[in-house]
């Protein structure tokens, strides 16, 4: 008897096709760029649920490009950004960073990835020796760990351990006042979420020893549905929830949490509420304990307000935390290039180390690049949400003296110093 094969797709070939399709879909899209002037490569997450990270970074850099070119550029040459979308894939971020330097001819890098991508880009920078500023990675180890720190890479961004100290001091005081001892955590399942949550808990328990974590949840970055996470959290009946979700993920979490009346069952605290997220969430619950990522009213100075308004005027939307960090990165580059009179990685590294810039985003009007390649002195405050502008009220400024003190202690524990 002869077996005949039916025309069409077999199950095996279909499965193989699905695999090939999935791999193809995950592949990147690479754009082209012109090859004039000083090219500055920037790769980030420019699509997907956390595209806000990349787009608000790009918006800020485009404002900076115009500002710097209007004042003569770098070393008398105009600058031009070349933007690439890594879609949040670390291997793609590394590939794009290398391509931006080797193929596109970029002479400086702005790495605006989330932490997962920045760690991959760090190794490319170490290999190429080009100057690079990480503008969005908040994972402390990127610069705190001397084995990971790269000679020509710097972080111009808030840092997990700084936020952890500042937030823990504020939340410990808040929890003591409200008698909140049973907490839950819910953070994205990658380096930033896990490391920073651990840091928060370490300091939180230090400042409030009777705190108990009754459950934790680790949704994937960009996960469309948080239902099972929310029900797990409500089952554990914590008095308060700490979350590091951000951008579209935070918006989806709040919307889905509203369905389960999550915000009436527990107090929620997050350091990650940005203006566009606040604006996008249609039913923002009041009373969420929140850090100021970027707030026009904090620091309450004319320079800060002016910067926020200029950004809004250009893009018809409010800036994010990532916006000010990228703007500040260009301020550091500008000042360092003038000082070094060069674009060379080593020369710029020497100029950047210890540099202080005047900026609207500093707690005292200045921000310093410390010897361990990370910024200190930026404005950190905590307050509570309100559904209408200014969205966060009763903001209390963090004490940088305490932040440095506890950061140093943490670095010793980690054997970084």
């Amino acid at each position: 008897m002869t077996r005949t094969r039916k025309p069409g797709l077999s199950r095996r070939s279909t499965l193989a096709l699905m695999g090939a399709g999935a791999a193809t879909f995950a592949a990147p899209w690479v754009a082209r760029a012109d090859a004039n002037t000083i090219k500055i490569g920037m790769q980030s997450i420019l699509s997907g649920p956390i595209a806000l990270l990349g787009t608000s970074s790009r918006n800020s850099l485009m404002i900076e490009q115009d500002r710097i070119n209007a004042t003569g550029g770098f070393l008398g040459r105009p600058i031009e950004f070349v933007f690439r979308d890594s879609k949040g894939q670390p291997q793609e971020a590394a590939r794009l960073a290398r391509e931006l330097v080797n193929t596109t001819g970029c002479e400086l890098l702005v790495d605006a990835e989330a932490s997962s991508g920045s760690f991959a880009v760090q190794e490319v920078v170490r290999d190429l020796g080009i100057a690079c500023v990480h503008t969005n990675s908040e994972t402390s180890a990127l610069t705190a760990d001397p084995k990971i720190r790269a000679p020509t890479a710097f972080r111009v961004a808030r840092q997990g351990v700084h936020d952890a100290v500042a937030g823990s001091i504020y939340l410990a005081e808040f929890a003591n006042t409200k008698k909140l001892n049973k907490w839950a955590t819910c953070s994205p399942d990658y380096a930033y979420g896990r490391d920073t949550t651990a840091q928060y808990l370490q300091f939180f328990k230090q400042f409030k020893p009777d705190v108990e974590v009754v459950t934790d949840a680790w949704p994937k970055l960009g996960q469309p549905d948080f239902t099972e996470v929310i029900t797990k959290l409500t089952q554990a009946k914590p008095q308060a929830l700490f979350t590091l979700l951000y951008a579209g993920d935070l918006s989806a979490f709040v919307n889905q949490g509203n369905v389960y009346a999550l915000f009436s069952q527990m107090t929620v605290a997050t350091p990650n509420v940005d203006y566009p997220v606040l604006a996008a969430i249609k039913n923002l619950p009041p009373g969420i304990q929140s850090a100021t990522r970027y707030l026009e009213t904090f620091p309450d100075t004319p320079a800060n307000k002016e910067w926020g308004e200029a950004y809004f005027k250009r893009w018809n939307e409010r800036p994010t935390n990532w916006s000010w960090q990228n703007s500040l990165a260009m301020q550091f580059y500008e000042q360092a290039i003038k000082k070094a009179n060069s674009l060379d990685g080593k020369a710029l590294a020497a100029a950047l180390t210890g540099m202080k810039v005047n900026t609207p985003f500093g707690a005292d009007g200045t921000i310093t690049m410390r010897e361990d390649h990370t910024t200190i002195g930026y404005a950190i405050g905590w307050g509570q949400t309100t559904p209408k502008e200014p969205f966060i009220i009763d903001v209390k400024a963090a004490d940088w003296g305490k932040i440095i003190e506890f950061e140093t202690e943490w670095k010793k524990q980690q054997k970084y110093i």
Partner: protein
């Protein structure tokens, strides 16, 4: 792994109700997307890699309709109908040209459609996420059944998805059209020889498949963030559903989607750091024990 928490949950009616509802909503929305995918595969033997795009566009169309009309019902209907129409156009203009061609050509066309529409969404709605917000009618406190939490909005979504599952199942098994579709899935040449307009039939199948994905996107839009490329993650899960359930089987898609929903609902209690892993292990186990899937026919 936290088996004691899972055990405590399974012995608590409140926890069982809450997590089962959570599993049902995840499973039923997944079923709506996967049902279209498996229907198209069952009849046309086309693996529609652009299916996630239908889900995404359904959500965006609903988002804009709600903004224009303030009616969630119209928003859902417009999302589903627009994607049914898009399904017909997609089949007639593109897919119909590659029936019987190299399967890589089908993949290439679907991939092109995904990229084109991801970029079009960025141009029309912007690259950043959007949140539709909960319709006013559903801004109500959750129900409590046996101490467990059941959000009214989710109860409605589950009911709609269950109704569609019943209509789809009965429609395919007892109506003349359904019998024709099933016959075409087995032997399209013979169905055509008997005088059935298979061109129209195939277009209708794509309309149903696309419409279901669009419906799922529209129904979920009030609680999920809308962003370009959002169809990709749902596409992967839909493939898992079709592989576990058996490619081409609507009943298989329903059972498989509910299984995945329940694994998510209860897995997050017992295996909080390995819930996704559990789903893939389940898929691998079923592939080993029953390669054609739970309800699939052996080739």
């Amino acid at each position: 792994m936290d088996l004691s928490a899972l055990g405590a949950c399974l012995t608590s009616p409140a926890c069982v109700v809450t997590q089962a509802t959570s599993g049902l909503i995840v499973g039923m929305l997944l079923f709506l997307v996967a049902a279209g995918l498996t229907l198209i595969f069952g009849v046309l033997k086309v693996v529609n890699f652009a299916h996630g795009t239908f889900y995404m566009l359904g959500g965006y169309v609903a988002y804009s309709t709600l903004a224009a009309t303030d009616s969630y019902t119209l928003a859902v209907l417009s999302g589903a109908l627009a994607m049914a129409l898009f399904g017909v156009l997609f089949e007639r203009v593109l897919i119909s040209r590659v029936y019987g061609s190299n399967v890589l050509m089908q993949l290439l066309i679907c991939y092109a459609v995904v990229l084109i529409f991801d970029d079009l969404v960025k141009i029309v709605w912007g690259p950043e996420f959007h949140a539709m917000g909960m319709p006013t009618a559903f801004q109500v406190p959750p129900l409590f059944i046996a101490g467990g939490v059941v959000p009214p909005f989710y109860a409605v979504l589950i009911a709609i998805a269950a109704l569609i599952a019943v209509v789809l199942s009965l429609g395919l098994s007892i109506t003349r059209f359904g019998k024709t579709v099933r016959a075409a899935a087995i032997n399209p040449q013979m169905v055509s020889a008997l005088g059935v307009n298979t061109t129209l039939l195939f277009a209708i199948v794509f309309a149903i498949g696309g419409g279901l994905a669009g419906l799922a996107g529209a129904l979920a839009a009030p609680v999920r963030s809308l962003s370009p490329g959002m169809g990709f993650s749902i596409l992967i899960e839909s493939f898992i559903v079709t592989v576990i359930g058996g490619m081409g089987s609507i009943a298989g898609a329903l059972v498989s989607a509910l299984l995945i929903g329940m694994v998510r609902g209860f897995g997050t209690i017992g295996f909080p750091r390995f819930t996704d892993g559990l789903i893939y292990i389940m898929m691998i186990a079923i592939q080993i024990l029953r390669p054609q899937g739970l309800f699939g026919r052996r080739a």
